[in-house]
């Protein structure tokens, strides 16, 4: 290549190809997490619409009246919400770019922080998508044919309709439709089993928002809400503390942590870590959450199947939260997580000690009604939801009963030829082998040991 002056200018190409971009993005995430990511966008809308500390709310739950409805079929994917919609300002400048520009206005306390989730999810699902969003001031519809977009050199999305019309509040919301699904996606969507798995995952990942009133449904059936509970009684109290990290800054990180015991379930035991209400890790039983890293906190074993730990991080500044881009694990090197991990281990210790004692009791039952198991069963009838736990305390468990005294008698068992036993039976005039044992023992003891006492 030569310019007008005849001097050659050399250029080495460094632009990414879009195909590479798309294939890299979608490889990093599974189908279910990608869909959960789209729900994150709706939840973020809800969080913008209903700030956490609205004094006018009264008795209502934070997200009462808000919904996210998903519909999956072998042909298409659809997610509809009434969580505020995407403004044209956000849509045209930020929402569809790859990565969040530094000048983008931040959504305080959002979940979708990396500017990647929605696009990645849409590419993961299919070849054609439409995003239609309505706010009170305006509406827009964006249509993308992925293969066409991928083949062009233009990065912007040009097939878009925008109207600055006002809308009633009940029209406000976002609808995303994906068609021409990828074959593997279409195959999964046609399985009832996939539907059940997605529903289970949604109920776990978005448990906090759903407990706050967000209605999530899949193919017309509401997704169940799991209410988090810990066993509570006079003698058995969950550990709890709440505090703010980086408190001096404008965007502190609010941390709350609950530890205790619940139903014995090896599949559910462990730690659960949430960032801005979104479950990012758990149930975890590995060293990431402290298992097996300190004295008194051994590796997970089924005798700890009752253990539950819940750790919540909340911050308006999403950079201050220890999550990864796929929201499928903690960034364990993050300062906020490093600050909490030793405290998680501390909080586990008394629970582990109690569960060890509970396990030991099985082999060596305590007499009477004062067994540890009886305290647990009594507490099982009155579990507390996490919201009801407000007293800062370490985990408190019932007084261990005194170890029973070592037994004063012991049994002996041995084998001897039957003929000899029968011979002794005659001499002792007894009929059982047990009596032979006792008789010969007593005979020896009387002769050889009785004087020593």
């Amino acid at each position: 290549m030569a310019d007008a002056s005849g001097v050659e200018s050399f250029v080495v190409q460094g632009e990414p190809t879009k195909d590479f971009f798309i294939s890299m993005l979608v490889r990093d995430i599974g189908l279910i997490p990608a869909i959960v990511d789209l729900v994150d966008n709706s939840v973020d809308g809800g969080r913008r619409l209903r700030p956490a500390d609205d004094p006018d709310r009264g008795d209502e739950e934070r997200f009462d009246g808000l919904f996210v409805a998903l519909r999956i079929t072998a042909e298409s994917f659809e997610i509809i919400d009434n969580c505020g919609g995407i403004s044209w300002e956000t849509a045209s400048n930020y929402a569809f770019r790859f990565g969040r520009p530094t000048e983008a206005p931040s959504t305080p306390g959002s979940i979708g922080q990396f500017g990647i989730g929605m696009k990645r999810a849409l590419f993961k699902l299919g070849n054609a998508f439409t995003v239609r969003s309505v706010t009170e001031k305006e509406d827009f519809e964006l249509r993308v044919n992925v293969p066409e977009w991928s083949a062009s050199s233009e990065w912007n999305f040009s097939d878009v309709t925008y109207r600055p019309d006002s809308h009633a509040s009940n029209e406000v919301g976002t609808t995303i439709t994906v068609t021409d699904l990828h074959p593997a996606v279409s195959e999964s969507f046609s399985l009832k089993r996939f539907e059940t798995e997605l529903s289970d995952e949604l109920s776990m990942r978005h448990q906090a928002s759903m407990s706050d009133g967000l209605a999530v449904s899949l193919n017309g059936i509401p997704v169940d809400v799991d209410v988090l509970t810990l066993l509570t009684s006079e003698e058995l109290k969950p550990g709890y503390f709440a505090e703010a990290l980086d408190e001096e800054s404008e965007t502190p990180v609010h941390v709350s942590m609950y530890t205790g015991v619940s139903a014995s379930s090896p599949a559910d035991a462990g730690w659960y870590v949430y960032c801005n209400g979104r479950l990012i890790l758990g149930p975890d039983r590995t060293s990431v959450t402290g298992w097996g890293t300190a004295r008194g906190v051994p590796q997970y074993h089924n005798q700890y199947a009752r253990f539950r730990g819940y750790l919540f991080f909340e911050s308006a500044s999403v950079d201050k939260l220890p999550w990864t881009t796929t929201k499928e694990g903690v960034d364990s090197g993050h300062w906020a997580y490093r600050a909490l991990k030793p405290r998680m281990v501390d909080a586990m210790r008394p629970v582990m000690a109690f569960l060890n004692a509970l396990d030991a009791e099985k082999d060596n039952p305590a007499p009477g009604k004062e067994s540890l198991e009886s305290f647990v069963s009594a507490a099982e009838s009155s579990p507390s939801t996490l919201g009801q736990i407000t007293t800062t305390t370490t985990f408190t468990s019932p007084q261990r009963p005194k170890a029973p005294k070592p037994p004063e008698t012991q049994s002996i068992q041995f084998v001897r030829p039957k003929k000899q036993i029968d011979a002794i039976k005659k001499k002792l005039k007894v009929s059982s082998a047990g009596k032979v044992g006792e008789g010969t023992f007593d005979y020896f003891y009387k002769r050889e040991c009785a004087d020593d006492e």
Partner: protein, 314 residues
């Protein structure tokens, strides 16, 4: 499941609906001879001490190689004593273990004739077979599809049995009546779809396996029972099996609607009376003899398969 094996409670050969089902299955399976020699098939089943299915398959279809899976290892001697033919190879262990130990190079008819409810372990057996049986094999599964008597516990128990395989549409109400059987059929079909999908991944077009349902029986002898089964073949052999004419049988079922086996309660004398007028569409003198018309009609449908029990001392 209770600790007692079900054969200790009931003599299998005395369950008339089951006997009818067995004979119908054999009648249809005989058509496999049109595409491949039945004598070269192997039968794999759960003989239990009665071995009723083994006796029938050997006598009617001429199948020589037979494997019976027994999980009651404590009764080994009794099973060996009862095995009706020398060619029955008895394997003791859980079905999942034994199926994985067998070689699957020979075309097989496999009847997973469970007495319990459908659960994850049974789906694993089905999954293993779907991924391993050679083309031309028949896989049949029978389960107890009786709903939990406590309405409030149906969904909970189904979820415990099936975990995420349980469709979200299931409810305590939907699992009542034959609803549990319908749900089971949905779950079984989906399992087959998933297993064959995995088997077919990366295989050439001629080696793509398909499942063709042949049986969908429901009957109730005490508990509601469900039997599903069909042919597993690859695309290359599809044409062979089209010629078998399975669909010529009344009880052939390739879809959701089950063939319900209802057993009319008739005396031996009544049956002989009806037999004398069969095959045919009408019976003379039903009213005079007092045989219910509906029972006679049902009998006419089933009479060729009807077991006749008689107490020889009576």
């Amino acid at each position: 499941m209770s600790n007692d094996a079900s054969y200790t409670k009931i003599n299998y050969s005395l369950r008339p609906a089951k006997a009818i089902e067995r004979k119908m299955m054999v009648e249809l399976l005989r058509r496999l001879d049109r595409s491949a020699s039945l004598a070269h098939y192997r039968y794999v089943g759960f003989g239990s001490p009665y071995f009723a299915d083994f006796a029938l398959l050997h006598r009617s279809l001429g199948i020589r190689e037979m494997v019976s899976i027994e999980h009651e290892i404590d009764d080994e001697a009794r099973f060996r004593f009862n095995a009706p033919f020398a060619s029955i190879d008895l394997k003791f262990g859980e079905s999942g273990e034994v199926l994985a130990e067998l070689s699957w190079t020979q075309r097989s008819i496999v009847w997973l004739d469970y007495d319990g409810r459908l659960d994850a372990a049974k789906l694993e057996d089905l999954d293993y077979l779907m991924r391993n049986v050679p083309s031309g094999s028949v896989v049949v599964l029978s389960v107890n599809a009786h709903p939990h008597t406590d309405i409030e516990k149906r969904l909970q128990r189904a979820r415990a049995d099936l975990d995420s395989a349980l469709p979200r549409t299931a409810s305590n109400e939907s699992l009542g009546g034959w609803g549990t059987a319908e749900m089971y059929r949905e779950v079984v079909n989906e399992q087959i779809q998933i297993s064959l999908g995995e088997r077919n991944a990366g295989q050439p077009a001629a080696a793509q396996f398909a499942y063709r349902q042949l049986f969908n029986f429901q009957y109730s002898d005490g508990a509601r029972m469900l039997t599903l089964g069909g042919l597993v073949h690859d695309a290359g052999q599809q044409a062979h099996f089209n010629g078998c004419g399975f669909d010529e049988f009344d009880f052939f079922r390739d879809a959701d609607d089950a063939y319900t086996i209802e057993v009319p309660k008739l005396t031996l004398k009544e049956m002989r009376h009806l037999d004398a007028q069969l095959p045919g569409d009408t019976f003379a003198d039903l009213e005079e003899v007092g045989i219910p018309v509906a029972d006679a009609a049902t009998y006419a449908e089933l009479y060729r398969f009807f077991p006749k029990f008689v107490d020889i001392e009576a």
